[in-house]
Symmetry: C2
Subunit: 333 residues, 2 copies
């Protein structure tokens, strides 16, 4: 691998706090063009030694939970504690509206104007693997640029929460009071991914309902929580509008951070994530090679149809695909 | 693909109810030898038209929950309702003790002697993908052999429950009364995978605790359940020893089966599973090719170490692996 003077210059600009260089770098890693991927890889190699010094916080919640208002308020609270915060979005759920969440920066008007904040809308959607890859690299780039708190926002639909929870150090689930119907939006397992559940909109008419939701989820977490000795998932309430409970949330994040660093889970988790990331890269690269193979594209619709209708054994269909890909030969008997 | 008279004969023997042929077929699909895989694929193609006519029930529970005693009792109840039941085991969690669960058939003495039952211990462990593949094929083979209820047992550790839940039509989680510590064994998301939670050991001293667990989980499910209009997850109690509540569980399984067939979710799910299965086959085949590549094996320990310690970017490490695999070239700049 030959080094690239332009890449080195770009890496230095990013580390020096050049926001345009930072934005360009993230645009680069969002590209799937092979030459861009190659450049991105060189850039990541340059920045890697300066990345990682942050707490990575995933925040998920169904539409209507007030995510952007919360992140605006929470982000400003974090900055008030002398940190620099980067906000990234993961939204693989809607190929059409890819980039929808955070796309409208005016949703976070004050935060987006703050020099200690960097907000990046969701890239146009791809596979979850592709989106996860871009998010991971964006985390490293913003860390190398000096942002020591990285918030990864994801909309509470699809499989994105699980993917995001695996990318970050701490996962926060944002919910609204009221229970019943509103909560139906929360899907399998998401609650148990949460290190912290925040009941938003704990104000006005919803205040009592928010306290009730806090109690209910506290009980559910107690019953269902995973057995981590260093941290028991918590539930807290806040009002993004009245800016109440926000400081407490940042304190909880710091408590969590200290707890998992002391127990060693923080670094163990980061190491595990890096290894998983490498294999995801391998799988994603192979998968995209399969997807972009024209011979496979030609036979796929028929094959998938036959498999769904039980006309061909899945293993046989898989062999046909890999034969087209040149990985397998046909069966000789 | 040339047909194979021996394979055709074996397929006919299986459909005719020849148990030795059935056992041999499952041994065949458990083999990873390329020539065996090829034969297995031909056999699956022969049997496919006669498979699928069953309800596939996944049963999970942590060690000590009394899974085997429950399945023995439940299996005999199913047979009593004029069905033929096959019991398969998935245990990828312990490479060492692979085949541990169900390995000792005497754990299900009566059921294993019954002509209407077929019990298959867990194959020696492999990757979860490999185990899932073998289980899927074993399901189809036993169905073609006329078993119209297929129970897939998995031990409540590792990721196997999620994998099993995706293989079957209905997922039953077996728990023990008492809450607190015992429940810590239940991991993230598993409870929400369940279409039915069975509180076992509802007898003697534990009877009251079982009723309490039923209430607690009923509340938790109500709060956290996924929004399927055709079925709301249930909680029930039983005693495998006293054989109480077992008939009710089979009735619930039949209710579930009717509900999802009427709503169309049953067939939609089967179609989705078949498609996912094909892609899993593709990924698993590529993955095993990667794993068995000696060049990769040579560089892997160093690469993984460097990735974990942040000395090389995961994307760069992935490229090195795929270069060894011949899928990628090095970066030219």
């Amino acid at each position: 691998m030959t080094t690239d003077v332009f890449v080195i210059a770009q890496a230095e600009a990013i580390r020096a706090g050049d926001r345009r260089a930072l934005a360009r770098a993230i645009t680069l890693i969002e590209s799937t063009r092979p030459d861009h991927r190659a450049k991105a890889e060189l850039l990541m190699t340059e920045l890697l030694p300066y990345a990682g010094n942050s707490i990575r916080v995933g925040i998920s919640g169904v539409p209507g939970v007030g995510k952007s208002t919360f992140i605006e308020t929470f982000g400003l609270e974090i900055i008030g504690n002398n940190h620099k915060v980067a906000v990234l979005a993961v939204d693989p759920s809607s190929p059409k509206t890819g980039g929808s969440i955070l796309g409208d920066k005016t949703r976070m008007e004050e935060l987006s104007k703050n020099r200690s904040a960097f907000i990046r809308p969701s890239p146009s959607s791809g596979t979850l693997g592709g989106v996860a890859r871009r998010t991971r690299e964006a985390m490293l780039i913003t860390e190398a640029a000096g942002f020591d708190v990285v918030i990864v926002e994801t909309v509470g639909v699809g499989q994105s929460e699980t993917a995001v929870a695996e990318l970050v150090d701490m996962f926060i689930l944002l919910i609204v009071p009221g229970g019943g119907d509103e909560l139906q939006g929360i899907k399998k397992g998401i609650v148990e991914l949460a290190d912290l559940i925040v009941v938003n909109k704990a104000d006005g008419d919803l205040f009592a309902a928010a306290e009730r939701a806090k109690r209910d989820y506290g009980a559910a977490l107690h019953l269902l929580r995973a057995a981590n000795k260093d941290w028991a998932p918590r539930v807290t309430t806040c009002s993004s509008l009245q800016k109440s409970g926000i400081g407490e949330i940042w304190q909880i994040v710091e408590l969590f951070h200290n707890a998992v660093q002391t127990s060693g889970r923080f670094s163990k988790r980061r190491q595990k994530q890096a290894k998983a990331w490498m294999w995801d890269e391998v799988n994603e690269t192979v998968a995209s090679a399969l997807r972009s193979d024209q011979n496979i594209a030609d036979i796929l619709p028929t094959l998938e149809n036959q498999v769904q209708n039980g006309q061909i054994a899945p293993a046989r269909a898989a062999r046909k695909i890999l034969m087209e890909f040149g990985v397998l030969k046909d069966i000789e008997t």
